[in-house]
Symmetry: C2
Subunit: 373 residues, 2 copies
């Protein structure tokens, strides 16, 4: 963060100096004038805007004092006001409809959808996610294959597996479980995936078509699609409403903000460098929390009556749980449930919807590939 | 707008009914319950989210009572507080640097950048924009060609010209002046353009790379790039600040919001369906107005001390002007100048920066094509 600030300051100082020398600003507030004495040593540069990638920063959210423990109850007698959104039941309903469609496809054209998953390394949370996806595929009658690679595998090994799946006509969706180990170039690997099989919808062309009016992405990323599906099924009005997306990851925050915008919400994106996240969020009718920071969103962030979707699934050590850890959301549930009109729990809220949407995208892809309606 | 509302209502009603039947919501606020009696006739649908293109709507802003006339002065004695941002001078400085670079390129490799413009129809404002771009090219030593087509030309004629320019090694940038007549498929025509020559940066792949962390668009769209360039040159802090973009066109609003976000602003996008645009805008440190509605942004929309960039250039009949019309911005200048810390005038603010950035993108493209640094 310090690097960024320094860089920005350098740019602004240089360029203000330049502007002032040329008399660009017809009158100038004192805050700007104070930088006037900095020397301009950059006169041959045509534009001063830095390349975008140099601006990328890790999302270093200011952590809560003790985010991993349950917070004490609010010092008030409010009873819960929120409906608990049962994502698990909604997802099950969707998955059973998908299973019916898969049987119909098999009956009429003798084929079923196929999903290939590439898993690198031994992150427990990634292993759990992949296991859940595979189980869901099996249950729906979708063929699935997992290619597992050790943490220290080479990029070429992953690219080679990807290339095979690109060519394999029985595979309609390919999924690279993120995050990848640091030594692998995530962008390069995702770029190598056939666009027609990118059921996660992470390709930049898909993202551009998601963003642009008139654009028709081949796939809508699963978690954002699951969030919108929840809102629509619950009868939450989206058009014109204030929606705040907390977090701006390529996987969740960014596509969720773009999708809400296509649905005509008025979207604000809050991130780790936002100066007043609490105030901005507290004006939202719809909050999608996707920062990955347990208990980031306190009760004071929630407008009474807001609909709150908690995408956070931070694994926290807990020996009493089946796999040795439990998942914690971004939202302080105990507080938010007293203010929101509807809220997703963690687990059992958005998570199951993500898997259901993955199956839905895989089925859509298989139908498209086989021209089956 | 009515069609959209009806459609949304239909979706929400159907799906709320479905949710209720299945007991998805563990408790339900009365507003949701009231829709409970609607019949579910859509049970075989897997996801209820509609296709995104079906959601697209014309941006029908509520017009001001008499937007085309100058408003009466505010009923207060406030003096102007804002620095007037002299986009014309800043753009001239940038263009003269570009001209130096073009001369250097010619000297060392014997080549100059080339820009081809496709202009369809006889819109006066489009003709003026194209004329200004060509004049700017000539002044900078950039070769330029204009292909003009009548209003009723066929798509194939335009596509054929585009294809020729795609192949022509002396052309490094191609620009299709928008808007095109309704009978031409804008998406299809823009898709046919070589990505390496899309100096407007309107291709979905470019837009996706602009949106995504780690993405490196080949070109940043000219108006958004010009806006950021102004902010940086003026020493306006962007990181963490509240920025509101008014309007969400593919050409200006959308890419400006994405670019501000890459620069770490906290961005909100206000559009024609936003319920409370005045309130949201009045909390912004940086306002970019790109709705194309004269005088939409009144003084009450502006937070004292905000920086205001007015992208609006609505042509309004005025026989006293050289070409029979004058350009009006989205911002009620007389009011905003009393509140903002800095503001762009119309004309002479963002407009000249757009042209300068077009030349900059064309030069960058020529350098890339010729491997010239």
């Amino acid at each position: 963060m310090i690097t960024m600030m320094t860089m920005t300051a350098k740019y602004t100082m240089r360029t203000v100096a330049k502007s002032c020398q040329k008399g660009f600003i017809k009158s100038m507030p004192s805050a700007m004038r104070s930088l006037n004495s900095i020397k301009d040593d950059n006169s041959s540069k045509i534009v001063v805007s830095p390349p975008l990638v140099t601006l990328d920063l890790p999302e270093a959210w200011t952590p809560n004092s003790n985010p991993y423990q349950r917070l004490p109850p609010l010092n008030c007698s409010n009873e819960p006001t929120a409906s608990v959104i049962d994502g698990k039941s909604i997802a099950e309903e969707i998955r059973s409809t998908i299973a019916r469609e898969v049987r119909r496809m098999k009956k009429f054209i003798g084929k079923v959808p196929g999903l290939a998953v590439i898993l690198v390394g031994e992150r427990r949370d990634s292993q759990t996610y992949v296991r859940n996806k595979i189980l869901a595929c099996e249950e729906a009658g979708i063929k699935s294959i997992v290619s597992e690679f050790p943490e220290d595998c080479t990029e070429d090994e992953v690219l080679s597996a990807l290339s095979n799946y690109n060519e394999d006509a029985s595979i309609h969706g390919i999924l690279v479980q993120l995050p990848l180990p640091q030594h692998l170039d995530e962008g390069k690997i995702l770029d190598a995936m056939s666009l027609e099989k990118d059921v996660d919808g992470f390709h930049p062309l898909n993202m551009g078509n998601l963003a642009m009016r008139g654009g028709e992405p081949l796939f809508i990323p699963c978690t954002p699609k699951g969030c919108i599906e929840l809102l629509i099924r619950l009868g939450v009005e989206i058009v014109g409403k204030n929606a705040v997306v907390i977090g701006r990851s390529n996987i969740v925050g960014l596509p969720t903000s773009l999708l809400l915008q296509r649905h005509h919400a008025t979207v604000s994106i809050v991130h780790a460098l936002t100066e007043n996240p609490e105030q901005i969020t507290s004006e939202a009718d719809i909050v999608v929390a996707a920062a990955g920071v347990p208990n980031l969103v306190r009760g004071s962030w929630i407008k009474p009556g807001a609909v709150v979707l908690d995408v956070g699934t931070c694994p926290v050590e807990d020996p009493s749980c089946e796999y040795g850890y439990r998942l914690m959301g971004d939202v302080c549930y105990e507080e938010a449930v007293r203010l929101a009109s509807a809220i997703t729990p963690v687990p059992g809220g958005v998570g199951p919807m993500t898997i259901a949407m993955l199956l839905s995208n895989t089925l859509d892809s298989a139908k498209r590939a086989n021209n089956f309606i």
